[in-house]
């Protein structure tokens, strides 16, 4: 029974060699046990720590998903045991709980992910100047101390500035600008991002500005609409939280819902009374066919479809009688639709040829919209993420103006998307500022358009405006946050750029695509590891989050990273960031939080602050009276403005203008809605890419439906006979969460193919297919569906590219491997206009994503 103990005697001879083995490990070397390993605490301390109990802490869900919800984490000594969502109040249609989606509920898998970026690291073959740059994306990595990492980054900034100048440093996002602006500045980037052609145009032709305000009424008023047209929007996927539930209330109140979308979406399934599939990027053509129908069938006495009074009172440019001063009368919208001068009447037949909808269906929808008393005409941004779509928002407004569905109860025409989905109007509750002084101004005014930048950097020349090409020589890229290399048009060229420049650095939570192609990666904290703050989404609610855990591993706040780099560039922390403590910053946000007053006329402080609070927090501040205490805020994690129908917080967009346009003119040149807008046409021309007419004429998209044909007239298909669109998918918020194990399992990220297209290509459910465009190739597992219109491929937005270096083919289904760097109009990132084809993949079939990098688990 004592085999081993007996054995010991045999080791007496060799023990001299073995005993001291541990010492050998540390002989002459840095002692790993000095910094790592266990420490002995005193008895009292150890006993206290063993008693620690858990607490529910409101935790941030901070992603750019289009929603905003409440998360709570049950935390014991920095470890999250479980999560829950809003259970502060009973759920009701007027005041729904702010409940989280699958992604929020998977949040702790992100923060505590095994693949969190834990330490600063550099590429092994990096040298000042880049070293072997081709190895970016494939190199081995070496862990660094923070000092080493920060020294490398600042030395490269100095070296590159001295050698190539500040105009060679590109910053794609994040607060590193605070340091670099002091140091001579950097080149930036700009683009239409999610907004597409709604980004800058709307205020030129008379809708609200388009970025924050979307010209629609609030969610309570939606219940007054008899007809809701949902044009290319899928809140069930792209606006989680309560928007879809709000739409459901409108439907329950009696609204008929028409969904126009290439995909029979979850939204169409839940809300739709009718689904009308349409070729991507041809929405404008359908609207012209509808406008033709309205003109043809309108009879002011017996069958009024057009609101002539509204057009005359509130708009310009519809017909030759309503033209703005100085404009060519022949250049009116009505004559364009009728084809008076161009010989092409925009009949439903004409439209049908382009958009793929039967002419009679177009007529029916037009008449239904025209004859409804109260209709909500809502569109998402997806139909505007189309190249050459700068006239589309103006066309959408024109339908609203023709039918008068604007600026009255139950009547609205505008965008329903992101935080404002189905719920327009100013915020009812908001957080305060953190008191950090604004960043110094950037002395460099060069900025690259997203849709052009990779190409521009490769060419050494970018478009700065109309007839204004400028040289550019980018040698350093700092990705302060975001997912630029993953989310911008023409990713293949982006990877080439990353392998050309002298230095690339990324802050990040994981080895995202940005980080993968970097020389140095700097591990950043998530909001769960920070002091706390506010998040906002829908106008009714303000979300507050607290620190869940101390920073994990060696992660640091972005602000700290920026400050440390700034110091190495010769600036004090005060110069870079204002030197306000995290606690004070949070306190400032709380004291500055405002809520709408009972009359709905002004704002008042949200949080009551006592002298005791100020002492407890050890901050500077003044007591104030508000609605709730700090303790309530810290416990609940959300403040929701109580709503009821007919309350003082409702909102009708542009109501005052419609009531009295002379007294309350719009900000346009004419003060009215501009169906003829010289300002819009000139604005678009100013960008230097492509031009539009002052009236919303139809411009086929670059790489749109028409380009799927080699010969449009005899309908002969070309090499890329299909169109690929990028739906927002619940696996991810843009690119975030793509690596999350639960979400990988729940949302496998297959490519959606119509059964017809798949059968024509011999592809079956579950086959691996290769999808190819003019710009790249990617693999995915096929999901065959009747829910997708034939001719359309649904490649979900945001998967992290995984290029096979030998074949050059991406295996992850990265949407931007297929898109090109093609810039049109206002610099639109037109992801949804890309032509493609697919075939059965003859190589090794893909494993499902959830089995990627498999681990043997007990």
């Amino acid at each position: 029974m004592f085999n081993l103990l007996s054995k010991v005697k045999e080791y007496k001879v060799s023990r001299r060699t073995f005993l001291g083995a541990g010492a050998a490990v540390t002989a002459g070397a840095m002692l790993p046990t000095a910094k790592y390993g266990l420490n002995k605490l005193d008895q009292v301390q150890a006993e206290e720590l063993q008693k620690e109990e858990g607490e529910w802490i409101p935790a941030a869900c901070w992603h750019n998903c289009g929603g905003r919800c409440l998360l709570k984490a049950y935390v014991v000594d920095g470890v999250v045991m479980r999560q829950k969502t809003d259970d502060n109040r009973p759920d009701s249609p007027d005041n729904p709980q702010q409940r989280s989606c699958v992604r929020g509920r998977s949040q702790r898998q992100q923060v505590y992910g095994v693949d969190r970026l834990k330490y600063p690291m550099k590429r092994k073959n990096w040298q000042p100047g880049g070293g072997d740059k081709d190895l970016r994306g494939n190199d081995e990595w070496v862990r660094l101390s923070w000092d080493e990492a920060l020294d490398i980054v600042s030395d490269e900034i100095k070296r590159i500035k001295d050698t190539h100048g500040n105009r060679s440093i590109l910053v794609t996002g994040g607060d590193i600008s605070r340091a670099l602006n002091l140091y001579g500045g950097h080149v930036g980037t700009w683009g239409t991002t999610s907004w597409g052609s709604w980004r800058w145009g709307p205020e030129k032709f008379g809708l609200q500005e388009g970025y924050f305000e979307h010209s629609i009424n609030d969610r309570m008023d939606l219940r007054n609409s008899q007809l809701i047209v949902m044009w290319g929007l899928n809140p069930a996927w792209s606006s989680p939280g309560s928007p879809t539930y709000n739409f459901l209330q409108a439907k329950k109140a009696g609204a008929r819902v028409i969904v126009i979308d290439p995909m029979y979406s979850e939204t169409a399934e839940l809300l739709g009374d009718e689904w009308i599939p349409i070729h991507p990027g041809t929405d404008h053509a359908m609207l012209l066919g509808m406008a033709y129908t309205l003109l043809e069938k309108d009879d002011p006495t017996n069958n009024p479809l057009i609101d002539w009074d509204f057009l005359k009172k509130c708009s310009v440019g519809f017909d030759e009688e309503m033209m703005p001063e100085g404009a060519n009368k022949e250049e009116n919208f009505k004559d364009y639709v009728l084809g008076t001068f161009d010989g092409t009447p925009k009949t439903p037949e004409w439209a049908s040829d382009i958009c793929g909808i039967e002419p009679d269906k177009i007529r029916k929808v037009a008449i239904e919209v025209g004859s409804a008393n109260r209709a909500a005409l809502l569109t998402g941004w997806a139909p505007a993420r189309i190249k050459n779509s700068d006239s589309w928002p103006q066309m959408f407004m024109t339908l609203g103006a023709m039918t008068g569905h604007m600026a009255q109860p139950g009547r609205m025409t505008g965008v329903s998307c992101h935080f404002g989905t189905g719920n327009g109007g100013p915020r009812l509750v908001m957080g305060g500022g953190n008191g950090v002084p604004p960043a110094a101004e950037n002395p460099i005014d060069d900025s690259l358009a997203h849709a052009e930048m990779w190409d521009a950097i490769l060419k050494g020349e970018y478009t700065a405006g109309d007839n204004d090409l400028r040289d550019i020589d980018i040698q350093m890229i700092y990705h302060g946050f975001g997912a630029t290399l993953q989310t911008r048009d023409g990713q293949s060229k982006g990877i080439e750029v990353h392998r050309n420049v002298e230095f690339v650095v990324s802050n990040g939570h994981f080895v995202t695509t940005n980080a993968k192609y970097s020389d140095v990666v700097l591990p950043a904290t998530t909001p769960w590891e920070r002091e706390g703050g506010f998040n906002v989404g829908n106008r009714d609610a303000l979300f507050y989050y607290r620190k869940v855990t101390e920073p994990l591993f060696e992660t640091r706040d972005d602000a700290w990273i920026t400050t440390e780099i700034g110091k190495r560039l010769g600036f004090t922390s005060e110069e870079v960031y204002g030197d306000i403590s995290d606690k004070q910053q949070l306190f400032n946000q709380i004291t500055g939080a405002l809520v709408i007053n009972k009359d709905g006329t002004d704002y008042e402080p949200l949080v009551t602050i006592t002298k005791e609070d100020i002492d407890n927090w050890k901050v500077d501040g003044e007591p104030q009276q508000g609605r709730i205490t700090i303790a309530e805020l810290e416990d609940q994690g959300v403040y929701l403005v109580e709503r009821e129908p007919g309350d003082n917080y409702g909102y009708i967009a542009q109501e005052a203008f419609r009531k009295d346009p002379e007294t309350n003119p719009l900000g346009t040149e004419t003060g009215k809605l501009e169906i003829h807008s010289k300002a819009l046409a000139e604005f678009i021309k100013g960008y230097g890419f492509t031009t539009i007419d002052p009236i919303p004429t139809y411009n086929p998209a670059s790489e749109g439906y028409e380009e799927t044909y080699k010969n449009w007239d005899n309908k002969e298909k070309g090499d890329y006979p299909l169109q690929v669109v990028n739906p927002h998918y619940l696996r991810r918020a843009h690119t975030i969460f793509d690596n999350n194990p639960w979400l990988r399992e729940a949302w496998p990220n297959e490519v959606y193919l119509s059964v017809k297209d798949a059968e024509e290509r011999g592809v079956k459910q579950g086959d691996t297919v290769k999808i190819k465009s003019k710009h790249g190739q990617t693999l995915r597992i096929a999901h065959l569906t009747e829910r997708l219109m034939p001719g359309v491929v649904g490649l979900m937005h945001g998967a992290w590219v995984e290029v096979d270096e030998k074949s050059g083919i991406d295996k992850a289904g990265s949407d931007n491997i297929l898109t090109g760097a093609i810039c049109t109009g206002q610099g639109i990132s037109g992801w949804n206009s890309t032509v493609c084809d697919f075939e059965k993949w003859s190589g090794e079939p893909l494993k499902e994503d959830k089995y990627w990098e498999p681990r043997v688990v007990l």
Binding site: K40, A46, Y112
Partner: protein, 237 residues
């Protein structure tokens, strides 16, 4: 039984404790931090692994040690390329930045969620606290890191040795029982899977060997604890 007892002396028990202390010291240092060049050179030149005991009673230890020894016969860590391949192997498997092929934390293998800082982390933290220990990287590094758990065993065996020397059998038996609990509840509940992943995905034979040695040694140590407990209990009666 008595004859066996008579043939085994307290010095033998102490020697066994010393061997266990050395084994855990070696193992913890192999995992607690990245390898340094000096450390690898010492391990190779001193032929530490050649001298590792119990090869003849555990085929897993035998395989592990042989794999390491033959690696060092063919590859000298004084060669920078050799050292860098070892260093990258450690970095790749245990630090990142990519998906870790052999994540060195218990919660990854024990929880449903394959994430860090989970319930297992807390349990291990409490087991440390019972003896007044806390990670030097508390809250930064997860407590169920393989290096820390091995350090815990190292610390516990050292405490137990003190009890032998100071003739405190009650405390000795309690600490030894806690060693057994810690092994069974924590290390041995996930190291088999971890070791399999590590052996499968290590680039170098050195770490493939370390994977086997780790698992083999923990299994054997569990048996040693049984013997020591029995011997000590019997001897004191």
């Amino acid at each position: 039984m008595n004859t066996v007892n008579e043939s085994i002396k307290v010095e033998d028990v102490l020697l066994l404790m010393d061997i266990r202390i050395e084994a855990y010291d070696l193992l913890r240092k192999l995992f607690l931090a990245e390898p340094t060049k000096e450390m690898m050179e010492e391990l190779a030149t001193r032929k530490v692994f050649d001298a590792f005991p119990f090869k003849d009673v555990s085929s897993t230890i035998h395989n592990g040690v042989n794999t390491i020894s033959s690696f060092f016969q063919d590859h000298s860590p004084t060669d920078l390329n050799v050292f860098e391949s070892l260093h990258w192997d450690y970095t790749r498997m245990f630090i990142g930045p990519f998906q870790l092929p052999a994540p060195p934390w218990g919660s990854v293998y024990l929880g449903e969620e394959k994430t860090l800082f989970q319930e297992e982390t807390l349990q291990v933290r409490r087991a440390y606290l019972k003896y007044g220990f806390q990670s030097k990287q508390h809250g930064i590094e997860a407590d169920d890191h393989i290096g820390l758990e091995l350090d815990m065993m190292y610390q516990l065996v050292k405490l137990a040795k003190q009890d032998v020397l100071s003739d405190n059998p009650q405390s000795f038996l309690e600490i030894t029982r806690d060693q057994l609990l810690f092994l069974e509840n924590h290390l041995l509940s996930w190291v088999p899977a971890f070791s399999r992943d590590m052996k499968k995905t290590a680039n170098t034979d050195f770490y493939k060997g370390v994977a086997e040695l780790l698992y083999g040694y923990l299994e054997l140590d569990r048996k040693m604890i049984d013997e020591i407990t029995d011997y000590y209990a019997l001897n004191r009666n």
